[in-house]
């Protein structure tokens, strides 16, 4: 694609979506911006070959996901470890419930607690990329398992298996944190 107007429309319509996804994958602002730039640079160069077989958003999510994996491989050479279901079976009474202040609160109210937001973000960040991606795409971006499969090049069964392990991992991390302080006095709006 060489038409500036066409690129501008693509960018204007999707930059917020891709930044949100990138921030959730990367966990911090500068890496997220790098990922957005890499994504749209690839999109700029590849749009002439895009035949519209998938939604534009799915295509951009796919480009971003691949770019993210490339960037990760450049940063670290270590292979990602597999998560086994066995490791998520609780071994003590305290591990069954989340020790967080959520009873009687809406999710939005609960997430006004900065400590809880940080615990959730850190848990997601600790996930190996192959598990973080389906969690972010399915539970945070709201895509279907089929769409996640298209983006990641996996069948639905594999997506659901990874998603399940990712959820169990985050649950265990939150359970281990023991956040008991109610901290709902911050100003409204989006929290980082």
């Amino acid at each position: 694609m060489q038409e500036p107007d066409e690129f501008d429309k693509l960018y204007r319509d999707h930059v917020d979506l891709i930044y949100r996804y990138a921030h959730r994958l990367c966990g911090e602002t500068e890496s997220a911006k790098d990922l957005v730039q890499e994504t749209f640079l690839n999109a700029y160069q590849g749009l002439k070959d895009f035949r519209g077989e998938a939604k534009v958003s799915t295509w951009l999510y796919t480009i971003a996901s691949r770019a993210c994996m490339r960037m990760r491989r450049k940063r670290k050479g270590q292979p990602e470890h597999e998560l086994s279901l066995d490791e998520f079976v609780p071994t003590s009474e305290g591990e069954f419930r989340l020790q967080i202040p959520i009873d009687g609160l809406s999710p939005e109210e609960a997430l006004q607690n900065k400590e809880l937001r940080q615990a959730l973000d850190q848990a997601i960040e600790k996930l190996p990329q192959k598990y973080r991606m389906p969690l972010v795409l399915r539970d945070m971006e709201g895509l279907s398992a089929k769409e996640v499969g298209t983006i990641m090049g996996l069948n639905e069964r594999a997506v659901k298996s990874r998603l399940h392990r990712a959820r169990l991992f985050v649950r265990r991390e939150l359970s281990a944190r023991g956040i008991t302080h109610h901290d709902n006095h911050e100003s409204g709006g989006l929290h980082s």
């Binding site: 069954f96 419930r97 959730l120 659901k160 985050v170 989006l190």
Partner: protein, 101 residues
Amino acid sequence: MTKKKATAPKKRSKPSSHGHTHGQGHCVDLLRQLSAYIDDELPSDICREIRRHLGACPNCEVFIASLQHTVTLCRHRPAPQLTSTERMNMRRAILDMANAR
């Protein structure tokens, strides 16, 4: 959900520590299906079986509630947004990089 014991023999008929009659195999089987249950992807007969198990196993009931809460928190976690200046600067940087290649 019954506590996992590192060297526990697999006797499914042995009563668990919290007073119901099934063995830990049921709880571990349930663990494998919890996301599908939460996402309403299981056949109705399996769902009935799971609900029956949850009624008899307080730990599994607590565990599934905690997993549901985890998913709910993920779904509602807001993400930061770009400012208009950041959007504009990034667009310029992308076009500069594209033209330089």
